[in-house]
Symmetry: C2
Subunit: 297 residues, 2 copies
């Protein structure tokens, strides 16, 4: 029973050269599953999965590459960030408990702080206190205000020095549940519409369960985007979100241009979307051949 852990580090960069350098280590250790970058977000997301030892080794090497290539003092982008390696989420995938994964995330945080002098906050299931569970609470203020924020004992990092790394800032590292980054692009450049839709659908405003949403500008495409994180992949379907955004956009006289997935999706969110889109009476992962075989072997 091979243990499989996923690691989805987010880097504050989107240029081809940096991306290539970052993915190389994961490739070398044969744990790279995919990667994406977005020039408007100015952010790259790498998805790796495999044996914990191999993933950990590749990650530590990659952080070194990021420190070398990325200078946050010169960084601009639509996506909020506080570090060159902004966040390092681990997700237990197979034959591995949440507790085992937390130990791995702590090991990663410790090594990164020791080797590169980057302060690391543990977040999500790895958090050392309740105010560090939410990444947005840790990240609030961004790279620019992190030095001042860290003066407070409340924001002393879990590992590493009390001041941000000069060019790489700080990082958050921890175990979280599967998260799906799903963006819907609107056929308008009116940011207020994207913001209004995002605000009305997010869980914290009584919207869709497990949904976080932001309205962002995609300047290079002259359109706006409802940028979403789905943390409840068990009961939420892409299709439900899509239909909701479509309806709300139409109230503003706007159509959906297209959608995109950043990183990978777990089978279960596809199953629930298919179930809803096609009015299947019952439909689950166990109707999918490859999933069944994967789960068994």
């Amino acid at each position: 029973m091979e243990k499989i852990i996923e690691c989805v580090p987010n880097f504050s960069a989107s240029d081809e050269k940096t991306l290539k350098a970052l993915t190389r280590c994961f490739e070398k250790h044969r744990v790279l599953l995919g990667y994406e970058s977005d020039i408007d977000h100015n952010r790259a997301v790498i998805t790796a999965a495999g044996k914990p030892q191999a993933v950990l080794k590749a990650l530590i090497e990659t952080v070194g590459v990021a420190v070398k290539h990325i200078d946050l003092n010169a960084h601009k982008g639509a996506h909020p960030r506080m570090g060159a390696v902004d966040v390092i989420p681990f997700v237990p995938i197979k034959n591995i408990t949440k507790e085992e994964a937390v130990l791995i995330s702590k090991k990663a945080a410790q090594k990164i702080s020791q080797k590169y002098g980057i302060p690391v906050f543990l977040y999500a299931h790895s958090a050392s206190s309740p105010n560090r569970v939410q990444l947005s609470d840790i990240r609030r203020g961004g790279f620019e205000n992190m030095a001042a924020k860290m003066q407070s004992p409340e924001w002393k990092p879990d590992f590493g020095p009390n001041i941000p790394h000069k060019t790489a800032g700080v990082a958050a590292c921890g175990v979280r549940d599967f998260l799906v980054a799903f963006n819907i692009n609107l056929d308008t450049n009116d940011l207020r519409i994207a913001k209004k839709i995002a605000s009305s659908i997010r869980e914290s405003n009584g919207g869709i369960k497990g949904l976080k949403a932001l309205g962002l500008e995609l300047k290079s495409k002259n359109i706006v985007q409802v940028s979403m994180n789905i943390t409840n992949t068990k009961s939420t379907s892409f299709f439900e979100i899509y239909q909701t955004v479509k309806k709300k956009a139409r109230n503003f006289g706007v159509e959906i241009k297209n959608s995109e997935l950043v990183g990978l999706a777990p089978m279960r969110i596809l199953s629930s979307s298919i179930k809803e889109a096609l009015k299947f009476d019952s439909f689950d992962d166990d109707k999918i051949l490859e999933y069944l075989l994967w789960d068994r072997h």
Copy 2:
């Protein structure tokens, strides 16, 4: 690199007791992935996959169970059929060529005819002549007319005697591409509507590529069904078919009640459906975590 073959035998029975007896052998050999039965079709479909040797062994034993439990002289159902074990499709899944799979299907056909005295026709990629490629050509006339049909030298079986087994009829066995059995139930009991829709969407009438469709009655539910086989799983999406049927049904003032999948679906048809339903610019199997890991390990 473990070889994996799929086998999806269709049996002319739907009662709980027979189904249980049929699935037992596949379970025993640890190759059972799923099964369904439908009382109106009076048909059961078992999906098995695993190492060729194990699948073959389980299949041969199961055919023995079917011969013991099913008497086609007493059989009635909406689905066309010619045998107790009506058709035995093999599908190469992983690390196995079409040619290797054809050899396995011939071995199965030979053993079934020898052991149980059932005439077996090779069909699809295993067919010995062009008029046996289509299952519908072999099956035309059904169990009731098979004895007369087999008088003709053109319909001498590939294995076994020249006359149907008295209670188990004849069987077809062969390698085919992945096939998805997808049914859409309409909220009406007017069979003409299901038949008209089926006729207009099937490929042979210029409809959707790779689609076969029949209009059937589901008497137990007092509704009708567009019963479909999708043979082109690479370029056809569930969602496209669903939207087409929905539109055509509405022209008759009828709504879709629900849908169902018989057996399993391959990842790729889910990906294409998701892509279309959610207007993804790009979306493929390699966006799905478990698929990537399965494909790699």
